[in-house]
Each structure stands twice: as structure tokens, then as C-alpha cells.
Amino acid sequence: MNANTSIPPHLLEIDCAKELDQISGAIRSALGRNLHKRGLVLGISGGIDSSVTAALCVQGVGKDRVIGIQMPERHSAEVTLGLSALLADHLGIRKISVDITPILEAVGYYDKYDEAVRTAVPGYGREWKSKIVVSDITEDKAYTLFSVVVASPDGGVMKKRLELNSFLAIVAATNFKQRIRKMLEYYYADLHNFGVAGTPNRLEYDQGFFVKLGDGAADIKPIAHLYKTQVYQLARHMGIPEAIINRPPTTDTYSLPQGQDEFFFSVPYEIMDICLYGKNHGLSPEDVGHRAGLPPGRVSAIFQDIERKRAATRYLHLAPVLVTEVPEIVCDSIVKKDLG
């Protein structure tokens, strides 16, 4: 008898054809009835989320109404431009490429970032590389703590926990990247009377893994309800190029390669999806642990961390706080089924 009776046998499996139909229909409705825009702009990075989102937009409104913006910078992985171009060519959408390095230089990002890292590692130089990593919340600690990992030109590697001011300075500087990209997406959207599609998957959306008014800003988020595992299912169903499907999830933010699990989630996305699903459906740590291959204690720690991240990042989802209600202005956030 299968002891894992609480977990459906095909956990996280979706009916891709049905999902595709629902999402593409919602995109059309949203553009026509919520947003009153003629098409969609989105940033394309060669990653799975932006690729699937772009494909869904094309399915919804046609390739002539979708524009992909490539926005590499000095620290972007070499494969990023190639894969995003592959995606654009595969879908037949227009792509616009804007190297944001000069913009980042103009706002002083690179100097600010290096200076921030030097507050933690005084010897950090321009030729060094670095990334930010998060503590493993499945260990017996309750706090998400960040460290900087630096690599010197001679191959030396060091890891140093970030204190308050260093952490805030690095986050503030790094957020320039997402906000500059969003600024450009909205430029092209305004130019064409288009809306902007955001690309977070459910894990990212739920856990606040985005920058306010950076990658968190959008007019529609077509895959925010899909677990990353499900995004991959849709990718295969829609024939997204294998090179994109096989690319490991990355933040593509720092000069050292960095997985999303290193930076924010501390476990791989496949495990996080199972845990998030389990938490959302009231499943026990024992049952989830059995499916995820984790001891129940670690699952409990992940459940706890999910709640804490939700609480800590709740403000990222908020519209501006008003002193009193302005009842004439209604903020709809679900696609309208009818006109009016």
C-alpha cells in the first residue's frame, strides 16, 4: 500500500492544452477589456519563464503584437543573448536589443555595488567576481541570512556573511538592473500602445522573489499561478527550444554564476514546488517529505520559511496605501470576462 496517500500520483501535472487555452484567452481578454492595449512587450532573457510567457502571448494575440526586449549588461551570462534571440526567432516576434551597461554606469551601479561588497570584503577589486548566496533555511536556523561569495583573479574564493549596511547597499544597487529593464519595457510599450507582460512563476510571485517596480511591475502576469514545474510542462508542450528548456534556472544577476536556489530559495525549484504545493494544500510534512525526499523536519522548516517570506515580502504586492478610500477608482486585478 502506498503510504503517501495524501499526495496525488501526478502531483503538479497540468492539462497543457487546456491551460494554454485558458491563459491565451485570458491574455486576449485582459488586453481588450482590462488594459485596452494593442499588444504586449516583455523582457526576454533566454530563461524558461520569459520564453513560455512570450509563447503564451503569441498564442493569445499573434506574433505581430508581441515584442521581446533583450537587455544584457556587463555581468550577463554569455548564453543569455543567444538563447533569447533563439526564442524570438522561434516565435517569429520582433526583438529589440538594448545593452543596459551604459545606463547602469550612468547611475553608478557598478561603483556602488563594488563599494558595497568592499564593506564586507575590503580587498574586493574591479576584476574580482562575486555573487550573493542565502543560508540554508532547512538547517536548524530560522533566519534567512545572506553572504557574499567573492572570487579573486588568482582563483581564491571567500565567503563572508553580510551585515546590515552591506546587505542593504548591495540590494539597493542590484535592484537598479531590474528597474532599468522595466523602464525600457514600458518605454517600448508606450511607444506602441502595448502593455507589459511580467514573467514570474508561482514560486517567485508567492515568495516575493522580484524587485518592486522592477521585474515585479507588469500589466499582466500570465504564469504567476503556475508552479515552475508546470511552466516546464507548458514549455515542452509548446515546443520551446530544447536549449532553453535545458538551461539551469539562474538569476543571471551577478558576475559569478548563481542559481536561484543559492540566492533565495535554498533548495532546488523542483523541491520548492512540492513543498509550496504541500503547504498550500494543507499536506503534512511527513507526506511532503516522502515525495520531496526530505526529512519531515526540513519540510517543516521550509513551510515556516514560506510563511516568513510571504510576510516579509507582502509589501511588494501592495498598491500604494491611501489614507482613505477613493471609491470611484476600482483596482481590478483579475481578467474581465465582459466588457464594461
Binding site: 533566519y143 553580510l162 551585515e163
Partner: protein, 81 residues
């Protein structure tokens, strides 16, 4: 009142609650109560280090030392002894 309790309560009230003192029990979890998050923990550590001239080591960054007013007071007394 425990040693340092008044200072810790004052810091928490001013830093995280904008002066409102909600009479938090000394054994209540600051994380569970939603008073601090992971960034707030860094702010607490920064305050402890600057105000009391101590250094909080990486292996001391555990809820036992930092997640309750009572825990912080006990930790502080040990570090300043």
C-alpha cells in the same frame, strides 16, 4: 525586569513599531509576532553590536539568542559579562 530588558524593549518599540509599545511578552517570538523579519534581525544585530560593543558570531545567530526579548537579554548578559 531582566538586565538590559528596558533598552531592548525601547529599541524594538522605536525601530520596528514607531514608538508604539505593544507590551510584548518577553518570551514571545519576534518573528512569529511579525515584528521583525530577516532584515530586522540584521538591524537588531547591528544595534546590539554598536550599543553594547559586542560582536555577534555567525554561530550565535540563532533564535535562542535573538528571537525573544528574554533570549536577547540573556544573550547580551552572557556577552557583556
Amino acid at each position: 525586569m531582566m538586565e538590559h530588558e528596558h533598552e531592548i524593549r525601547k529599541f524594538i518599540a522605536e525601530k520596528f513599531l514607531f514608538g508604539e509599545d505593544n507590551k510584548l511578552p518577553s518570551d514571545a517570538s519576534l518573528l512569529e509576532a511579525g515584528i521583525i523579519d530577516s532584515t530586522g534581525v540584521l538591524e537588531l544585530i547591528s544595534y546590539l553590536e554598536e550599543q553594547f560593543k559586542i560582536k555577534v558570531d555567525d554561530d550565535e545567530l540563532v533564535p535562542e539568542n535573538l528571537d525573544t526579548i528574554a533570549g536577547v537579554c540573556k544573550f547580551l548578559s552572557k556577552k557583556t559579562a
